[in-house]
């Protein structure tokens, strides 16, 4: 069976690019829904912002930089040349996925007898 590609989708935005590429690799489908059409400068700007973010990360990775640690710095310096990315970082910059998992079991095991 040929290989499958991982897909990331659901609430992801350009500011999370370092983590997305770190966790899923470079052969990945990134589906930015809200992260594209919710961009304050318009949908095309949203697409541009995402594209600039992924290109900047790949460029930095190829040059040998630690894109995981320096990811935010790379995005911020890329945003200097791209107003769309700057707007995306301003809008969603502090959104992360730190929340209580909804997947925890809610069954308490009690000993019988």
């Amino acid at each position: 069976m040929p290989g499958t590609m991982p897909v990331a989708s659901g609430g992801i935005h350009a500011g999370q690019m370092p983590q997305l590429l770190d966790y899923l690799g470079e052969d990945v489908i990134l589906q930015f829904g809200g992260g594209t059409i919710g961009h304050p400068m318009g949908i095309a700007a949203g697409a541009t912002a995402n594209r600039v973010a992924v290109e900047a990360m790949i460029k930095a990775r190829n040059e040998g930089r630690d894109f995981v640690r320096e990811g935010q710095d790379i995005l911020v310096s890329a945003a200097k040349h791209c107003a769309e990315l700057q707007a995306a970082l301003d809008t969603w910059g502090d959104i992360s996925f730190n929340y209580e998992s909804t997947d925890t079991p809610d069954v308490m095991s009690t000993p019988t007898a």
Partner: protein, 146 residues
């Protein structure tokens, strides 16, 4: 308009140092690096002119940059790209492809609409750069013939 074809096309143009770093990454991954050029920027133009054969045997990026510089000197008003081919089984595809040279003036595209049967419209792109016959293109842009 700045065409956005290939990797890194949405970023500012790469400096020579950055190009060297990318070529070195491709060499380290055992990809074959090749230089190609064209003056026809149509997005469906996938077969560009080859500048020499792919460089299978280089181990240092300065050799690749040497070829890029030679291509730029010989074709000053063309789009030039570096592409790297990954030959490993299961992949066998271009792994990296980015522009390293653009003409001074990029006139862009025109959207042509053609009416077909049943009042349907078919769309195609027409690059302004190909308006002249090939031999007259550089002259039209004010340069000596290619």
């Amino acid at each position: 308009m700045r065409i956005t074809q290939g990797t890194f096309s949405y970023l500012p143009d790469l400096t020579d140092d950055e190009i060297t770093a990318q070529i070195q990454y491709a060499i380290d991954q055992n990809w074959a690096v090749a230089v190609e050029y064209t003056d026809d920027p149509h997005p469906r133009n996938v077969l560009w002119e080859m500048w020499g054969l792919p460089m299978f045997e280089i181990s240092d990026a300065s050799a690749g940059l040497h070829e890029v510089a030679a291509c730029r000197a010989a074709n000053p008003d063309h789009y030039i790209k570096v592409s790297a081919y990954d030959a490993t089984l299961g992949r066998q595809t271009t792994a990296l492809s980015f522009l390293v040279g653009r003409p001074a003036v990029e006139p862009g595209f025109r959207l042509d609409r053609q009416e077909m049967s049943d009042r349907r419209i078919s769309y195609s792109l027409h690059p302004y750069a190909t308006e002249q016959p090939r031999d007259l293109r550089s002259a039209a842009n004010g340069h000596r013939g290619s």
